[in-house]
């Protein structure tokens, strides 16, 4: 365990198997009078991968930001590990965030740092007394996990889109999260790399027991990754089910997402 505060955090939340990893209750959010989230209800269980699909602007990324406290909902509650995040002070919110990994759409790698420094950054920030040898081992371990052990000394500007996503994933994995949020993990990648990333997400769930909430427009990724899929329409959940159930759906809104004939 590289992060000291995480030990306490685990005691406080997340030990009970009954508590969902993340939950949104009647979540509403609007921008300049435009309703983006409209009474959204959602729950992600333990060791579950939930995929969220919907048209662009349906409020998927806003939901992510509300869940991790980067945005305040206008009304409704967002819960992580059974805690209402709007009721937490900054310190407690950060303790909860230590259990959560967030892969941003553009990977959000720190430009001024090398790949190794990017990955080591959260470790060094959360444990000031950590030894350099421990940091090096942890960085190497996650780089091997994402299949890029040779990239440690490269600058983030030298990386391709797929490599950036993998390094972004490695940076979140190094803190051993219990719950991952993936914001369009395969967008902009070729079919082969997209499949590799999707399989990696699945592998993390199966081997590391990491639950996740995945936003994607890539139905191949949704099929590989999902235990359950939720379809978003105008800020609320229109349909929910497994890939097969939704694929067979006759709903006019749901059907086009699974239609591969065009």
């Amino acid at each position: 365990m590289f992060i000291e505060e995480k030990i306490d955090a685990k005691k406080d939340h997340g030990e009970s198997n009954q508590v969902p990893m993340a939950e949104a209750r009647e979540l509403c959010k609007s921008f300049d009078g435009q309703q983006v989230l409209n009474g959204l209800n959602l729950q992600v269980g333990r060791e579950e991968n939930l995929v969220l699909i919907g048209k662009s602007g349906a409020g998927k990324s806003v939901l992510f930001k509300c869940l991790v406290g980067l945005m305040r909902p206008d009304s409704g509650k967002a819960w992580l590990f059974g805690k209402d995040i709007s009721s937490l002070n900054y310190k407690d919110l950060n303790r909860i965030r230590l259990q959560v990994g967030f892969l941003f759409q553009g990977a959000a790698l720190y430009d001024s740092m090398t790949v190794g420094e990017n990955i080591a950054f959260p470790l060094r920030q959360h444990n000031r007394r950590i030894r350099e040898s421990e940091v090096k081992d942890a960085v190497q371990e996650v780089l091997e996990q994402v299949g890029l052990p040779e990239a440690v000394n490269r600058m983030s500007s030298e990386l391709s889109g797929g490599m950036r996503k993998r390094i972004g994933l490695a940076r979140t994995l190094v803190t051993h999260p219990e719950f991952m949020l993936y914001d369009e993990p395969t967008t902009g990648l070729d079919a082969v790399t997209a499949r590799e990333i999707s399989e990696l997400i699945r592998q993390l769930q199966q081997e590391k027991k990491i639950s996740s909430l995945v936003i994607t427009h890539d139905m191949a990724c949704a099929r590989i990754v999902s235990d359950r899929i939720a379809v978003l329409k105008e800020g609320s959940i229109r349909a929910e089910g497994t890939y097969e159930q939704l694929h067979a759906s006759e709903d006019d809104w749901v059907k086009p997402f699974f239609d591969t004939s065009f």
Partner: protein, 266 residues
């Protein structure tokens, strides 16, 4: 109290008010943003590595620019003032006059304006770019306080390096003045500098240094504020850098005006 601090960390979208209300709202945000520096600046954990990196960026890399500017200012001021003083036969007062002008006013203000352009725009653009590419959000969700890591280190660096650059500019400016004196006549270096420095006392040097620290604070905090609050889109990065320079330059003049009034009281 703690809940309030949480609200400060979360970006809260507000309805667009009218332009006057908007100005006051922004000003309030800026006061709150600056206030957080005093709350966080001495509280651990400390980011020494980032602080030293910023000192190199803001201080060391600005040395060539402020050196050249300081030298030219000293040279030009001496060449311009010499004929007027010569009319009254007061050429011997020239080193003292130039030293007082440079150390009390011109050195700090010119250096601060250069730093507002160089450091302020760099901070605005860098943090703006980090905001747009979600790097600041990435820090936030990793439970790392981005304000402490990015803003506190930069403002501290600006507060320390701007006065150091001012001292350096003053020294180079006096060298420029010495060179200008030797264009028309031969003056020994030792005599020039002893005459120039003999007219200075504590009341000339100390307020100028304090003023430089305040200049550094405002340049740092304005640059960071503009970048940290950049909106989405690459256009906003340019706007953040531009407004950082304009606001920081204006702040330098306002602080100078206030500092002169305060200095006059003593």
């Amino acid at each position: 109290m703690e809940k309030n601090s949480l609200m400060n960390q979360i970006s809260v979208e507000k309805p667009r008010p009218s332009s006057i209300r908007n100005w006051f709202s922004q000003f309030g945000d800026f006061i709150s943003f600056s206030g957080r520096f005093f709350k966080d600046c001495l509280r651990p954990p400390y980011n020494h590595g980032e602080f030293f990196r910023q000192c190199i960026e803001t201080g060391y890399r600005s040395l060539p620019l402020v050196s050249l500017t300081g030298f030219i200012i000293g040279l030009v001021l001496t060449l311009q003032s010499r004929p007027s003083l010569a009319t009254f036969g007061a050429e011997s007062l020239l080193p003292g006059m130039v030293a007082t002008s440079i150390i009390r006013e011109i050195g700090p203000v010119i250096t601060a304006l250069i730093c507002a352009g160089k450091i302020g725009s760099a901070m605005g653009a860098e943090l703006g770019s980090m905001r747009v590419t979600e790097q600041i959000d990435a820090m936030e969700v990793s439970s790392i306080n981005p304000y402490k890591y990015l803003v506190v280190t930069r403002v501290w660096a600006a507060c320390l390096t701007v006065p150091a650059l001012v001292v350096f500019t003053d020294a180079i400016g006096l060298c420029g003045s010495y060179v200008a004196m030797n264009v028309h006549s031969h003056v020994e270096a030792r005599r020039f500098f002893s005459t120039a420095l003999s007219v200075l006392d504590f009341r000339d040097i100390f307020p100028a240094l304090i003023k430089s620290v305040v200049f550094g604070f405002f340049i740092g905090v304005i640059g960071c504020y503009r970048g940290y609050n950049a909106k989405s889109g690459t256009e906003s990065v340019g706007r953040a850098a531009n407004s950082a320079v304009v606001s920081a330059s204006l702040a330098v003049f306002i602080v100078d005006l206030i500092a002169v009034q305060i200095t006059d009281l003593f």
